[in-house]
């Protein structure tokens, strides 16, 4: 028995080291893919980017062109979405954390989580039927609203989680001093959770900055600088989509350059958030 056991033992140890190596290989592989994607964007992007490109509007093929209006459109719609989505999301999150331990809170929590998983193109269709059809045209307003709807459940849930991290002792300490509940929440709990809520908000903004599908038929696109929210509006992502699926090499180069800007913004936000949270916790 001793011998068969040691044979078996050798095989088991071999299996174990093979499997541990394989799991490490999985990690190496995926990290390599990430680096591959990012380095591709960097190389192709940097080789076709210029200051003029960042200011210009799209032009007929062969005459150059740029993404100035797309950047403006993205900024305007993201700002609109943040102005609508952040307050609602944060307030909803406060409710869930402070008063949400009942059936209604559970239902909302469940709906919010499933809403986060609902494809963003569905939100686009919804806004199309709700805003675009009655208005008779696509608009930056519709695009921004679609992005706001995507933000709300994300912000609500992260806000809730951050508030729940605030120790009960802090609440009770303030309540014991005779402070009304709303003051405790507003002046004590919320500031204590503010860094967490802010990072959650930044991540949500990064997320909607990269959204394309909900803008395709709500904001549509535009070839011009447009400062009016009731008009169709260009965005970085839709512009990348159009350039990428265009037939000409010049367009593809512009797609990479625009992607460099987009991914740059998003990665900077993500790294910044990581840096801020690491410092604090």
């Amino acid at each position: 028995m001793a011998e068969t056991n040691s044979q078996n033992h050798g095989r088991r140890k071999l299996v174990s080291s093979v499997m541990t190596t394989l799991t490490a290989a999985c990690a190496v592989f995926v990290v390599a893919v990430l680096l591959l994607i990012i380095s591709y964007i960097a190389i192709r992007g940097f080789s076709s980017i210029s200051v003029q490109f960042l200011i210009d509007t799209p032009k007929p093929v062969g005459e150059g062109g740029g993404i100035g209006n797309a950047i403006l459109g993205s900024v305007m719609m993201t700002a609109l979405a943040a102005v609508i989505g952040l307050p609602i999301g944060v307030l909803a999150g406060i409710y869930l954390a402070e008063f949400g331990n009942n059936w209604y809170g559970n239902v909302v929590r469940f709906l919010a989580d499933t809403l986060v998983g609902v494809p963003s193109i569905i939100i686009g269709i919804f806004i199309y039927t709700l805003i675009v059809v009655p208005m008779g045209r696509q608009s930056g307003l519709a695009g921004g609203l679609a992005l706001a709807l995507i933000m709300i459940p994300i912000v609500a849930r992260t806000t809730e989680e951050m508030i729940r991290l605030v120790p009960d002792a802090m609440r009770e300490g303030a309540l014991a001093l005779g402070a009304p509940q709303w003051r405790v929440t507003w002046n004590i709990v919320l500031p204590a959770a503010s860094t967490g809520i802010a990072t959650g908000a930044m991540l949500a903004i990064a997320r909607i900055t990269g959204e394309t599908a909900p803008l395709l038929f709500t904001a549509l696109n535009s070839r011009f600088y447009n400062f009016y929210l009731d008009q169709p509006m260009s965005s970085l992502t839709v512009q990348i989509f159009n350039y990428a699926t265009g037939p000409f090499e010049v367009e593809h180069a512009m797609a990479w350059a625009a992607t460099l800007i987009l991914v740059g913004i998003i990665l900077v936000i993500n790294v910044l958030v990581r840096f801020l949270t690491r410092k604090r916790f």
Partner: protein
């Protein structure tokens, strides 16, 4: 003073209640608007809409089966690739890697999730598709070409490329959820196995057994994301309403047919057909997400009980 306190509390609570109620309102409004706007096709085609194989908008023939098929095939390919990889990474992060290595790797995997869909699409068109055409597809055709799965013309644009892109996109969420459920498994489970003379891998298998339903939940969640993923797939899957056995062939997914056609749909019945597709997508992803949530909650609950 006490009175102002209670009035303040009432106002505060009401404001919060209004804000939080916007979430169920959104869900209800989505369902209402989409049902309302897909009534023309719902009434005209009924269930036949889902089983019809022909999609010819000009003739007002709307059968959604090719899209359902394309969605299923590309999602299955995505799961086949991403599930083992994500399990491997999560096991590596929780069971093997030292903390100072696990943290940066975790972060890098999370960064994959931060990259926008349209960027994956761009990368898919210009990097992945040529790779699939020239290397991966050629390899598969050479050695497994006798299978109908790997026959036909290799363009690099099709269900396989779509599936690979989807796999990359869902790896972060799969990995994160699996990592979380593995971390919930009590350390005493690992020590029990080790004390019985289990090897590292045998111990890991005990941990996986503990986390089984959470892992299933992660897979379902990944499936939900794969089904709903839109832009990247639209850009590499070829957008053709056909049902073919070969994974090299172009196809459509439900989400990509919406992205590619919605802006052009001017006739009421065509728009209604597309919105009905959206409704189907909504309910499928909603159900899949709900199922995933139940499975994942199960693990933490059970381990909470086992710990006590």
């Amino acid at each position: 003073m006490a009175k102002t306190g209670t009035t303040g509390d009432k106002i505060f609570r009401t404001v919060l209640l209004i804000a939080v109620s916007i979430i169920p309102l959104i869900v209800a409004a989505i369902i209402y608007m989409m049902v309302q706007n897909s009534l023309p096709t719902l009434q005209r085609f009924g269930v036949g809409f889902l089983t019809g194989r022909e999609w010819i908008p000009a003739q007002e023939t709307f059968g959604a089966l090719p899209f359902i098929y394309g969605t299923i095939v590309s999602s299955v390919i995505a799961l086949i690739i991403s599930v083992p990889l994500s399990l491997g990474i999560a096991i590596f992060l929780v069971e093997q890697a030292p903390k100072n290595l696990a943290k940066p790797i975790s972060f890098m995997v999370e960064l994959l999730a931060a990259i926008p869909s349209v960027v994956y699409g761009l990368w898919g068109i210009f990097v992945l598709a040529p790779f699939v055409r020239d290397y991966l597809g050629a390899f598969l055709q050479k050695y497994l070409g006798f299978l109908p799965l790997f026959q036909g013309r290799l363009t690099g644009i099709g269900m396989l490329t779509g599936g690979i892109i989807l796999a990359l996109m869902i790896i972060p969420i799969l990995t994160a959820v699996v990592r979380d459920v593995l971390e919930v498994v009590p350390v005493t489970q690992r020590e029990a196995a080790l004390a019985l003379g289990a090897t590292k891998w045998e111990t890991t298998k005990v941990v996986l057994g503990n986390a089984a339903s959470g892992i299933a939940g992660a897979v379902v969640l990944g499936l939900g994301r794969a089904i709903g993923e839109t832009m990247a797939v639209t850009m590499v899957i070829g957008n053709s309403p056909q049902i073919s056995a070969s994974v090299f062939e172009p196809a459509y997914t439900i989400a990509s047919v919406l992205a590619a056609n919605f802006a052009d749909a001017t006739e009421k019945i065509y728009l209604s057909a597309l919105i009905e597709m959206g409704l189907v997508l909504f309910f499928v992803t909603f159900a899949v997400n709900a199922l995933a949530k139940l499975l994942i909650i199960g693990v933490s609950r059970r381990n909470g009980v086992a710990k006590a």
